[in-house]
Symmetry: C2
Subunit: 240 residues, 2 copies
């Protein structure tokens, strides 16, 4: 909370996080840095447009996010935090504030949060495919200065990338690779054919084409077929 954010400490934290070998080490470092600035609620997650939910996988959630004295689990967080959706519209870290009034909880994106309520900073992390993850930090009396935004933006990005490196390697394996059939269907789609047409060409049911395309979207972690085309081209799954 108090004083000033030391840039020096932020740099050291980032470098430490980048070389961390466990999630716990990352968490500890973030806590140690952000704690004195008034942040004691944390969420770190990856984002995928594939689901109806924005959040794909939560790496770390901690703290009394909903002011009920209980620490939350991942599902609760996803269900209850509407601020999360805003990362779809923002291109830089932003502050938000939650006030509890007559009509229940009210979340807003603000320039600089103040007053009573729970405030926080949401940091989107972008990569070659667009939005890839985010970290949210919250607290009741937080340092919401430009310097804090800058420092926490750095830390959060490093934390997300490091955490993903640690966790996704263990989990995923080769997520994203398409099967032969899927590549074929997507290639025809990229060539402008409709599902019925592709079905006829390949001698399959229209339903099968549809199922393949859904599976493709899920595998590539995208929301629409149009996006799947782009991602597949980028990954070299199909030709441009």
């Amino acid at each position: 909370m108090s004083g000033h954010v030391t840039a020096e400490q932020a740099f050291r934290s980032v470098l430490f996080i980048e070389s961390a070998e466990t999630l716990a080490a990352i968490e500890g470092e973030v806590r140690a840095f952000a704690g004195p600035m008034g942040y004691e609620r944390f969420v770190l997650f990856s984002v995928s447009a594939a689901q109806d939910e924005v959040v794909e996988r939560i790496y770390w959630v901690e703290g009394d996010w909903f002011g009920n004295g209980e620490s939350v689990d991942a599902e609760t967080y996803i269900r209850r935090c509407p601020v999360t959706r805003h990362i779809l519209d923002e291109r830089e870290p932003f502050f938000w504030t939650k006030t509890t009034g007559a009509h229940g909880e009210l979340y807003r994106v603000v320039r600089s949060p103040r007053g009573r309520g729970i405030h926080g900073l949401q940091v989107p992390v972008f990569g070659p495919l667009g939005l890839e993850g985010a970290m949210s930090l919250g607290g009741e009396r937080i340092d919401a200065s430009p310097r804090a935004r800058l420092a926490l933006g750095l830390i959060a990005e490093a934390a997300f990338l490091a955490a993903r490196n640690l966790l996704e390697a263990a989990i995923g394996g080769d997520v994203g690779a398409l099967s032969e059939r899927e590549r074929e269907v997507l290639a025809w789609t990229a060539a402008g054919r409709r599902q019925v047409e592709i079905a006829a060409t390949l001698g399959l049911s229209e339903r099968t084409i549809e199922n393949h395309l859904r599976r493709i979207r899920k595998r590539l972690g995208v929301a629409t077929t149009a996006q799947a085309i782009r991602v597949a081209i980028r990954k070299g799954e199909i030709a441009a």
Copy 2:
């Protein structure tokens, strides 16, 4: 170069750059920060990348990039710097080094550049649409420490975002079969957004988005939006 990069100074520079109102101010700040670290060649550009050219528009190019004692213009830089293409494969700032041997110039991406030659740091900048721009800094004897990478990454990202904000507004759309608006709509589509979402993001009617997309398909001579994505990527209208 030697000594230590002060994180404090980096933070101050970023905050200054974010509020800069001319490109010259941004350039001056970057020079002042990176100069003492041995960097005196700069390129700042936006990326739209597809096939032939990665670079879309160069905002700032300065310094003796090719060791011939002359400052280069934009076209020369694009034509002669093969390192640029690497930003398509990288997801973080990376160092490179250029050595001149018997078989001409040799560029390599390295962990930590040393020795004779021109070295540099390439910083990709990502956004909701994927890779959006980059900044490259070079010099003969540069500080290539992790701290330098971190600080310059910050500075470069801020510089790119600030420069784009300043310049893109002024510049009108030039080349390309698609209009500025159409490219924008298609880019969001390729990023997985639906028409209604794009309408909300751009503050337009859903109808308008639909009309733009129809016009895009007509102009590109394709049947479906999925195909339009592929064709546009191939033509370099939007990024892969």
